[in-house]
Amino acid sequence: MKLFTKAAMTAVTLLSFAIGGSAVAQQSINDPARDALYASLKDRSVVFVPVFMGLDLTEGWSKMMARQAEKLGYKYEVRNSNFNTAAGAQTITSLISEKPDVLVVQNPDVQSYARLLKRAEDAGIHVLQLNMKTNILTTGFVGADVVEIGETQANAVVNHCTGEGKSGKVLILAGPPTSPFSAYMLHGYENVLNGNDKIQVVSVQSTGAYESAKAKSITQVVLQQHPDLCGILGVWDNTDIGTAAALAEAGKTNDVFVSTSGGGGELSCKGIRENLWQHYVSYDVPGQARDLNDLILAALQDKNEVGSTKTILYTPLIEFTADNVDQQSCWTLESIK
């Protein structure tokens, strides 16, 4: 706010100089777009409805959105549904009558909010979907191409496990069976693994709601049955801490190749360095947040009918391995400036 006033004051002063003192030798010219932009952003509001807070993904996104809002002088608010889809639906319902300018929604799945999001757009609210999109497209979507994550992970495992002396046995630790995120990723795995004769998928098990304890016990059971297990495909880094713990206890850390994915937070680099996993696909939360901020700005400036343009931005993926981990910068909340 202060920044904005200051900027406006400076702009006014400069402008009067420009008119009054055109005789001055070195001319300073104000960017004609900026005043209008800043003025138009004032008192606009953006609301973020995440599935959860308190994990690196959402905290990272939210922090960057909040920073931009603070800088540009619009309102930003988080309404946390706290893993409760019904609560999220309630929130969006009441937001439709509150009418913020932009609604950023992290969908829990493909369907739950679809109809509400359409109603929100019909009511004149720009809806940006984050991380998971419903089957109804709205003004914008920012998130990873999840199938591609799966394919990237599976390729890494294939590379490792089809070599000389490898059993080719692979364990897949999926997320909740009903989660599209996990289902898309499984699809990516299948795209790669199904065509490969040397790979044998010994077990596909759900870790429940991404429970690391469950990942651990499944891994232990499968290791009992298949001591020559070669690779594990995990859906999410936090879950695979359990996977790694099981391997460490069995003394198999160096025998089994673990590939996982996540937002690229500090855990990702730590996991590579401590040999919890050997391959990591990051969907780069700060990058996603930047995309999101751009779409928010675009939406705030959009004068057309809501929903007349629909933009999908898939996040470029980054692979972390022991070889490149030192060149990668794993972000932390502190590092998001």
């Binding site: 959860f52 309630q90 493909v110």
Partner: protein, 703 residues
């Protein structure tokens, strides 16, 4: 000055209503109501537009959806069970109705009925397991929660894509989700109708009472022959159907086959039900409680979400509110009856004028004598508590008994007796009409008639309710004495509307105008209250002009006259202002005067205490009931008076051997028959100068 203030205070300050309000059954719901009001006040102060049309409509829509499930679980809780599986039933029904509408494109009616059937079927599984196999509700529904959820998850993966890639073309379906009638959402209408029906079901219909009976005491319900198993089973079916209904509206609104549909619903609805004051363990609960609980939980969660409260903080706030509300409600539930006990008795200021001279002194109008000492005794030990006596045209004697019967003693010697009719409540005042049907005021029951062929019929047990009354004064609590007009109308007194018959000493202690006079018109079969706020109106007799009655106000120690028609209609005049005792029944004498029974004598202590309501209130709060002051009714007399209020004659039994208390007397063919509510006998006294053909009741009088 202070005396005037005191008078004004006791005249206008409605002490009695606090106890009466507190004693109402709906006061059990006070705590949830207060919590709800606080919630609304708090959030409307915190959030702009919290009470806007849009927000209210959103909230009500969700509340109604949730309400269906809360109502369902409430029924189960009332029966003494619990249903955790609602969350999974909800999810399955949501999936089914969406599949019917989106994929099969079924007509709305079809989809809805199939889904309701599924709800019923899933509920029936619980019901059969718990009702018939007698499995434990908590565990069984917990396991079915897991099983149904697993089935849902298996199916969800297979059908979710199909559901979300098709859309039904059904305006009716959309109206269910978002429509409104008279700007009230459809779902609220549906829920409202259902809630009203369920309320009537639970409070007015037999099957609803069965639910409460099974929940209240399963063993007794079983022993009284209720089909306990079936009732328990059906409550789960009801819960399943209601959950299905909720899921249908949810599906119509969101069209979402989301994987975690219904997750945690069992906790939410259980919380709502308990917040509303429905108790775990059964037997207690109402629709209103379910609705209040639903609104509280929904407004709190929605309000916290709208305030963008961080998730952790909202959970802490939610938990704190839940615990405070539950603690308050449980304290309230446990202690309300104590508060009622303390507050209900609300003594009034009653200033009886002092007696000009001692009633027992020889020169008093009431100078004692022994004329009742040698009365003839009828039915000694064969009758208990004959409050009133009456004789028919064959001189047979009728009286009531404490056991709820009417006893007939046969003329001429009154040695033999039989039970003439069984009423079931204690008969008080009695009289015959022209056809010798016996009309009886029955304590706690109302006005009854025993026909000549001994059929007991209800005449009336309710009157019009006063619009300001808090306790239900439409029911007759203590009909006391009556008389019949020549045209068949019946005037009777109801001594008090605040106490039961056995609590009459408490009414005396209160000394408040709790009684009334009621008229029953057989031609229109209509009962109306004609005179209110009388202090224990007791005896009643039609006066000589047939346009007025004389009636006794016991604790006020007066006889008054009231004109119910004619030129003085509506007027009340004093006849005898300051009796030395408490008047009871009045009856005609053969010489055109009136007999009055005085059931007990005033004492200075009690008179003084009646002038000190504060003293009596402290007494009623601090002492147990059997240590309270009570009017003396150990000795009484019979008085003859005329319409001018002059005392003409007095009959005493000073030693109180034959008639320690007298509540009525009736002159019949030269004899006076004497009844008393604490006596075990009836007295008969030969009157010296009386008309030996005179009959006080029946054809002779009425004709």
């Amino acid at each position: 000055m202070s005396q005037t203030l005191k008078k004004l205070r006791y005249k206008y300050w409605p002490d009695h209503i606090f106890g009466e309000i507190l004693q109402k059954p709906w006061m059990e719901t006070a705590v949830p109501l207060i919590v709800l009001i606080f919630t609304i006040v708090f959030f409307s102060a915190q959030i702009d537009n919290f009470i806007s049309a849009n927000n209210l409509s959103d909230n009500f829509r969700q509340a109604a959806e949730l309400g269906f499930v809360v109502l369902g679980i409430s029924l189960v809780l009332i029966v003494g069970g619990i249903d955790l599986s609602v969350a999974s039933i909800f999810a399955l029904c949501n999936l089914l109705v969406l599949y019917c509408m989106h994929v099969w494109q079924m007509p709305l009616i079809g989809a809805v009925s199939v889904t309701l059937l599924l709800g019923a079927a899933l509920g029936a599984i619980n019901g059969i397991l718990i009702g018939y196999f007698r499995m434990r509700a908590f565990l069984t529904t917990m396991v079915t929660l897991i099983v149904f959820k697993a089935i849902h998850d298996l199916l969800n993966v297979k059908v979710a894509v199909a559901i979300s890639s098709n859309f039904p073309d059904s305006p009716a379906w959309d109206r269910m989700g978002y429509g409104a009638i008279l700007s009230i959402p459809t779902v609220v209408w549906a829920f409202g109708i259902l809630a009203i029906f369920t309320h009537i079901f639970l409070t007015r219909l037999r099957y609803g009472w069965w639910l409460l009976a099974v929940g209240g005491n399963r063993r007794s319900a079983y022993n009284t022959g209720l089909p306990v198993n079936r009732i328990v089973a059906l409550s789960y079916v009801a819960s399943g159907v209601l959950t299905a209904a909720s899921a249908i509206f949810y599906a119509a609104r969101l069209a979402s086959p989301g994987a975690d549909t219904g997750k945690g619903l069992e906790i939410t609805v259980l919380t709502a039900a308990i917040l509303g004051g429905i108790r775990l363990g059964g037997g207690k609960g109402s629709v209103m409680k379910a609705i209040l609980g639903t609104l509280i939980i929904l407004l709190i969660t929605n309000g916290l979400l709208r305030m963008a409260t961080p998730a952790g903080t909202s959970r802490i706030i939610l938990a704190t509110i839940l615990l405070l509300a539950a603690t308050l409600d449980i304290r309230w539930f446990k202690n309300r009856h104590k508060a009622v006990q303390e507050l209900y008795v609300s003594p009034a200021l009653l200033e009886l004028p002092g007696l000009s001279k001692d009633a027992t002194s020889p020169d008093s109008d009431y100078a004692p004598n022994e004329r009742l000492h040698d009365v003839e005794i009828i039915g000694l030990g064969q009758v208990e508590a004959p409050e009133d006596v009456v004789l028919d045209e064959d001189d047979n004697l009728y009286c009531g008994s404490r056991h709820g019967d009417i006893i007939r003693f046969f003329a001429p010697d009154y040695k033999r007796h039989e039970v003439y009719a069984r009423i079931g409540g204690q008969p008080l005042g009695m009289t015959f009409d022209a056809e010798y049907n016996l009309y009886v005021c029955v304590g706690g029951m109302g006005l009854y008639r025993v026909t000549r062929d001994r059929k007991v019929e209800l005449v009336t047990d309710e009157t019009n309710r006063h619009f300001l009354s808090i306790i239900d004064d439409s029911r007759l609590r203590l009909a006391d004495d009556l008389d019949i007009l020549p045209d068949g109308r019946i005037l009777f007194s109801e001594a008090t509307v605040r106490y039961e018959m056995h609590e009459w000493p408490t009414d005396a202690l209160e000394g408040r105008g709790n009684g009334r006079i009621i008229m029953y018109d057989p031609k229109q079969n209509k009962t109306t209250t004609v005179l209110r706020n009388l202090i224990f109106p007791n005896g009643i007799v039609v006066a000589s002009d047939k346009q007025s009655i004389l009636f006794a106000e016991s604790w006020n120690c007066t006889i008054k006259r009231y004109w119910f028609e004619g030129p003085k209609k509506g007027k009340v005049e004093m006849v005898i202002p300051n009796l030395p005792g408490y008047p009871d029944n009045i009856n005609r004498a053969s010489d055109g005067n009136y007999w009055l029974a005085i059931m007990g004598m005033r004492s200075q202590v009690f008179d003084l205490s009646m002038r000190k309501p504060g003293f009596r209130r402290r007494m009623s709060k601090q002492l147990p009931g059997d240590e309270w002051l009570a009017p003396n009714i150990n000795i009484g007399c019979i008085v003859k008076f005329n319409e001018a209020g002059e005392i003409l004659d007095v009959l005493w039994d000073r030693q109180g051997i034959n008639h320690p208390m007298i509540t009525s007397m009736r002159e019949h063919k030269g004899y006076l028959y004497i009844g008393g509510i604490t006596n075990n006998r009836i007295g008969r006294l030969k009157l010296d100068d009386a008309d030996e053909t005179y009959v006080s009741s029946g054809k002779y009088h009425v004709g």
